[in-house]
């Protein structure tokens, strides 16, 4: 490459326009020399000129050709020049990063963690909250219920639905549906499956198509039609092994059902295995029997509001002629199906997204202060380069390249972390958050992550270049990185570190609150002790055991067999498992008077269920041998029932019945209360127990068919050890009963899955924020100590004790941490209302969470500044002073 001034390359690059001049001059010189040669040969001067031009040929053409080649050449040169310069920047950038591996690693991991946490949570929010449900024109699908007297929502009475279907104008299709679990035989092993029951409009609402066979048609829904069912594609593949549909029969809840088709991608209600037509003929005509839910597809042009208004008015008209009752609808509740499916998880997820955002902010603040420190220590290097003639633009580009390298690396690390977190989340999964199976990372999330990385690093990576253009290079050189600029920097740092601490405090307090609220929840006295209890959820075939009494006999026989097993201390039957939520409640009549009633939970009990669950007997007695099917009916009430309905009176000897619950109004026999037991939380761990009445399963067997559980207490305390024996006993008594065996502990764990999800994620975020804040403080103090070794050396040389100097450093940074804590407390107070709804049994201002978080941060701050301070004062002062 020729580099001398005037050399064609350099000239070409710097003085681009003169190529024309260059070409013309060369041609002119040729003609002139040629003419002179001709004159020497005896030509007349002007003849010679003409001849020289003739011999040269097309002068314009040659000039054009030459210029075209030169232009092409120059453009190529410029391209390779830029590419080379860029590659040089990249190489230089990589070298500087490798030379400061600690910085590079910290920056990459910091960015990666921030981006990873955000990408993961954003993915969850995206697929759970933002993505439409996976149905055609899903935004038109609505969910309908009736409004109760308290303004809440309740199920739809069949009679009301039938009128809705007939009279409502705002819907393209409307369907009632229900879902429950029952025994399914005929698919290999006996199993308990989820069976959806629906009216014919259901398929139209979801615009579903059969993947094989057909869906149900109106004639399948007509009274007296042959029972048919449509299985889910998943069920067909996994449980039916993809068998051909011809004459494929299943026994569902004792009824033979012919499978006519399979449907894929319809996951509402969740996990349905088989859909069967709702038998409209046997439905109750009472407008108070709220047994169903409904879905609809809005007619084209109908808004949700219009549909809601129409249904409200229609429902009021329908119930207007009924005798007044608390159990009649006061209107209709219409929401989008999306809202129904994700409703309760919106708030926690948005909260988590906010928390992840805070983590990213902490990461960015951290990175900003690190980049700033690095920029400051590189001020000298950059000043040298600038004074050697490197253009500002070039230095800025260099810094930008380094930043881009960091951002790229951070994004890659972040996506890796996000992927890991997503795997974890999917595993934590379905119990905690709806739609988690649909979870995936998509392009928008990728873009989001990359943009964030780029903005953060580039913003702060360029700061040193801006500073360089403010102060002239010479003064930066003289200053040697100290002085006024250093003062300004340390102010910026204080602000950054304080901000970081404040954000970290908000996160730590939030997670502290959620953890403590979770502890409160788990520590909640649920009124029973399930730690040593194994459970068996029963589902007997109605074909084999047609009468309720058959069920009770079977249950009783099973309890006796289990009681005889070694290691069993108590066994019994109970229709509702604690914290499970499957609890029937309704109208209970009191004191022999059918017009005097209570609203209470209705539970059937047999055997030693109270003993197995350690539900304390407070007064009277529990059920025993005296209480046979033909003996006088007895009942037991919970403490809160006695307190609410017989306050200050003796409940023993009073009478209760629940005719509407157990025998369709025909059994009017009142049972005498013989005992009072403690309150048990049947619904959820975090919900106040409701007044409960326990009846004897042999005396009122009606409901024993619907909800049947056996509870078995292990004498040694190890409930899991009982499970094989329970399975074996079941196999022996009836191999067709699906073995749904678990420990009570399992039920407890899955009942708090979403709370645990929150605790784990938020705890992880808080831990991250704590580490990031610590790393940030450490980085800044290390840098400051490095800058101040000389000053510290002098102090120590002049007799200052190293301990005092260290103390000074730590005190200074604790001052900044303190400022951050004050800011953080402000943040916590502001954010309180957001957190409150997620808390159980404590206030957002909980002093323990606040105090612990502040102490933890202060300790981390002290440690993070003591380490570099100790390192700075450990060296011989003479050496540090000479090092300058």
């Amino acid at each position: 490459m020729s580099l001398e001034p005037g050399g064609s390359k350099v000239r070409g690059r710097i003085f681009g326009p003169s190529v024309r001049d260059d070409v013309d001059r060369e041609i002119a010189a040729h003609i002139e020399l040629r003419a002179r040669e001709l004159v020497e040969q005896g030509w007349a001067p002007d003849e010679a000129m003409r001849e020289a031009r003739r011999l040269f040929g097309d002068m314009d053409g040659v000039a054009r050709a030459c210029r075209a080649i030169a232009d092409r050449h120059m453009r190529a040169e410029r391209r390779t020049g830029m590419w080379e310069a860029w590659m040089q920047d990249v190489r230089y950038g990589l070298r500087t990063l490798v030379r400061a591996p600690e910085f590079a690693l910290v920056a990459m991991v910091t960015l990666g963690l921030g981006i990873g946490a955000n990408t993961a949570i954003f993915s969850v929010v995206d697929s759970v909250l933002l993505d439409p449900l996976p149905y055609e024109a899903a935004e038109d699908i609505v969910w309908l219920r009736e409004r109760n007297t308290r303004g809440g929502a309740m199920g739809v009475a069949w009679a009301n639905f039938a009128d809705w279907r007939e009279q409502a104008r705002g819907f393209e299709s409307l369907a009632a549906y229900g879902a429950g679990t029952t025994t399914i035989l005929g698919a290999g092993e006996p199993l308990v499956g989820t069976v959806g029951t629906m009216t014919e409009g259901y398929w139209g609402v979801f615009r579903a198509d059969a993947t094989i066979g057909r869906l149900t048609v109106p004639s399948d829904h007509a009274p007296g039609a042959e029972p048919v069912g449509v299985v889910s594609d998943h069920f067909w593949r996994n449980e039916l092994a993809g068998a051909p549909l011809d004459d494929l029969l299943l026994e569902i809840g004792g009824e033979r059902v012919r499978v006519v088709g399979a449907v894929a991608g319809l996951d509402f209600p969740a996990d349905v295995d088989v859909w069967v037509p709702l038998d409209e003929a046997v439905e109750s005509a009472h407008r108070t029997a709220h047994n169903w839910d409904a879905v609809g597809r809005l007619a084209p042009g109908t808004t949700l509001e219009a549909a809601a208004a129409e249904m409200d008015a229609l429902t009021l008209r329908l119930v207007a002629e009924e005798p007044p009752s608390d159990y009649l609808a006061t209107g209709a509740v219409v929401t989008t199906l999306h809202e129904h499916v994700i409703g309760s998880s919106r708030r926690p997820l948005l909260f988590l997204l906010g928390a992840a955002g805070l983590v990213l902010l902490v990461a960015c603040t951290n990175l900003a202060s690190t980049l700033l420190a690095r920029g400051a220590s590189r001020g000298r290097e950059l000043a040298v380069r600038a004074s050697l003639g490197a253009p500002r633009g070039r230095i800025a580009r260099q810094l930008l390249t380094e930043s881009a390298l960091l951002a790229g690396a951070g994004a890659v690390v972040g996506l890796g972390i996000a992927q890991l977190v997503l795997v974890g989340l999917r595993r934590l999964g379905p119990d905690a958050v709806p739609r988690l199976a649909e979870l995936g990372m998509d392009a928008s999330v990728l873009l989001y992550a990359t943009a964030m990385a780029a903005l953060t690093v580039i913003g702060f990576g360029l700061l040193p270049a801006r500073r360089l253009s403010r102060a002239d290079a010479g003064s930066a050189l003289r200053e040697g990185g100290r002085g006024n600029a250093a003062d300004r920097r340390s102010l910026v740092w204080r602000v950054l570190v304080a901000g970081e601490v404040a954000l970290a405090l908000v996160l730590l307090v939030s997670s502290g609150l959620v953890v403590r609220s979770f502890q409160n929840l788990l520590g909640q006295d649920a009124g029973f002790d399930g730690s040593d209890v194994a459970t068996l959820e029963l589902s007997l075939s109605p074909a084999k055991y047609p009468a309720p009494a058959d069920h009770v006999r079977w249950h009783d026989g099973f309890v006796r067999s289990v009681e005889a097993l070694p290691g069993v201390s108590a066994a019994g039957f109970i229709s509702a498992l604690p914290v499970q939520g499957s609890l029937g409640n309704g109208r209970i009549e009191l004191d022999g008077d059918l017009d005097k009633h209570a609203d209470a939970a209705y539970v059937l009990v047999g055997g030693e269920a109270f003993a197995a669950l350690d539900i304390p007997l407070l007064r009277g007695r529990t059920f025993d041998e005296r209480d046979g099917p033909d003996d006088a009916h007895v009942a037991i009430v919970s403490q809160s029932f006695a307190d609410e309905y017989w306050p200050g009176e003796d409940p023993i000897g009073r009478t209760v019945t629940g005719g509407g619950m157990d025998d369709h109004w025909e059994l009017r026999t009142f049972s005498q209360v013989v005992g009072v037991v403690g309150d048990v939380r049947y619904r959820e761990l975090g919900r106040e127990p409701e007044p409960t009445v326990y009846f004897h399963h042999m005396q009122r067997p009606f409901r024993a068919r619907f909800n049947a559980n056996l509870v078995v207490e292990a004498a040694g305390g190890d409930a899991a050890a009982l499970i094989p024996a329970l399975r074996a006993t079941l196999q022996r008594l009836d191999p067709d009963v699906p073995p749904r065996v678990a420990t009570m502990e399992d039920h407890l764990v899955s009942s708090v899955a979403s709370e645990r999800f929150m605790v784990m994620l938020l705890g992880g975020f808080a831990l991250l924020a704590l580490m990031l804040a610590g790393a940030g403080i450490y980085g800044v103090v290390s840098y400051q100590v490095a800058q101040r070794t000389r000053e510290m050396g002098i102090r120590i040389a002049l007799g200052g004790a190293p301990g005092t100097v260290r103390g000074m450093v730590v005190r200074q940074s604790l001052g900044v941490v303190g400022l951050g804590l004050v800011l953080g407390v402000g943040g916590v107070l502001l954010g309180g209302p957001v957190v409150r709804s997620l808390l159980y049994g404590l206030e957002p201002t909980d002093p323990v969470s606040l105090g612990a978080a502040a102490l933890l941060l202060a300790a981390a701050g002290a440690l993070a500044s003591w380490i570099p301070a100790a390192r700075g004062t450990r060296v011989d002062p003479m050496i540090t002073m000479r090092a300058e």
Binding site: S2, E4, G6, G7, S8, D22, V23, R25, E26, I27, A29, H30, L33, R34, E37, L55, F56, G57, D58, M59, G61, V62, A65, C66, I69, A70, R72, H73, A76
Partner: protein, 112 residues
């Protein structure tokens, strides 16, 4: 003097330029004059055609060029071979030699 001027075979001008410059750096007119004299004006070529060829060779990195003041006191653009140009010349000569040998073998055989 020539009888009938020959058309210059495609690509041969490049080799001729490189060969010319292998003796010493020259400006365009010098190259043109040398080629005329050395070939006894055997080739029918417009003198201007030399310049685009020079540009192309320069672009390919086979020549370097700079402006110089000649002994007569005028500015001239002087071309010189680069190391890559030397290599290219060697390659050009040997391929030309091969071409000539092959032609000679065939044409010699036809004449016998």
């Amino acid at each position: 003097m020539k009888d009938t001027p020959l058309d210059l075979l495609k690509g041969t001008l490049d080799v001729l330029i490189l060969k010319t410059l292998s003796r010493e750096p020259m400006h365009g007119y010098g190259i043109s004059r040398y080629l005329r004299e050395a070939t006894d004006e055997a080739f029918q070529v417009q003198e201007g055609a030399l310049y685009p060829a020079l540009r192309r060779l320069e672009e390919r990195g086979l020549l370097s060029a700079h402006w110089e003041t000649t002994d007569t006191g005028r500015q001239a653009k002087v071309y010189a071979l680069t190391p890559a140009g030397v290599q290219e010349l060697r390659r050009g000569i040997s391929s030309w030699q091969g071409y000539v040998d092959a032609m000679a073998r065939v044409l010699g055989g036809a004449g016998a």
